[in-house]
């Protein structure tokens, strides 16, 4: 019996593909977790992309292109990521006013090289919410800024989190 098993293993290895695959390998392969490698793209939906894009342009973001459908594409410095301002569903509306940064489900944080200038520009552009948060662990502040449709983004100084590798 043992001799038969050995012969089978030898034949399988030599002629059946060259690699033995155990049942555990099969289980591992089907349950192997996908890797999440980056968040390169942020979408922002609005009834009027051209109008809302003016807010982000006022903050100093640079429009790379506008598509035929009116979607506005903004690339970060060195093309390390993008903000795409797109049309929301016809029958839906942006969220209402917010009194703090901790009300919204998803908040994305941008890094910038000039936080003071971002805040100055946001005030000049008529942002409905500018809230400063200061870390208790490090001397770092993040400003949360709402646009004209009450979408909130965070703005942090570049390299604000030493645990994260950024360009």
């Amino acid at each position: 019996m043992r001799r038969f098993e050995l012969a089978f293993v030898l034949c399988f290895t030599l002629f059946g593909g060259g690699t033995l695959v155990s049942a555990q390998d099969v289980v591992d392969a089907t349950q192997r977790a996908p890797l999440f490698t980056s968040t390169p793209t942020i979408l922002l939906r609005t009834p009027d992309p051209a109008n809302l894009a003016k807010f982000y342009e006022a903050l100093g973001m640079k429009i790379a292109r506008v598509s035929e459908r009116g979607s506005v594409f903004i690339y970060h410095e060195g093309n390390s990521g993008s903000l795409e301002i797109l049309k929301i569903d016809e029958n839906t509306q942006p969220g209402g006013p917010k009194t703090s940064r901790t009300q919204q489900g998803v908040v994305v944080i941008f890094e910038t090289d000039d936080l003071d200038e971002v805040v100055r520009r946001a005030e000049a552009a008529g942002s409905p919410l500018i809230e400063k948060w200061t870390s208790s662990q490090a001397p770092i502040s993040i400003y949360y800024i709402a646009d004209w449709e009450n979408n909130i983004f965070g703005y942090a100084p570049r390299y604000h989190n030493p645990n994260i590798n950024v360009p």
Binding site: T37, I42, G60, H76, S80, S82, Q104, D114
Partner: protein
Amino acid sequence: MKRRSWMAAFAVWVCATAAGAQEPPPLYTSTPTVLLRSPDPEKLAEFYLALGFKAARSGDYGAIIYLENNQGSLEILKMDEGTQPGGAKTTRTQQGVVAIFETTDQAELVRRAKEAGATLIERWTSSERGHSIYYVGDWENNVFGFAPRYHNPNIKVP
């Protein structure tokens, strides 16, 4: 002679003031961090761990998740007491802000999302490049996109 030098000084001052008034725009260099607010972050974090995200730290405050090689983070935190997550969504185009993660295995991600009870799984396929992005709604109807790695050749990603 004295008058001329005063005029020159005045001209320099005018030019310097004009230049100073026009500050150069700030540079936006990355979007390393995504925050997700929930009334019960500890519970909601279980959804993302089921998708395959790995928590660097977790507790009753929620979970801090780092992407592969620490290239970014997803932080699931407490929402304001008096507020609630958004309601159910029937399409990917209803939410204001949607962050798109890149992943190495979309099929496995979709399998896990179904198994975890995602409230929305919608596939969008680019007519220009042919790749697909899956939009997945979590238990509180927050929608994220999941694209294949290097899905946009115009963007430099790790």
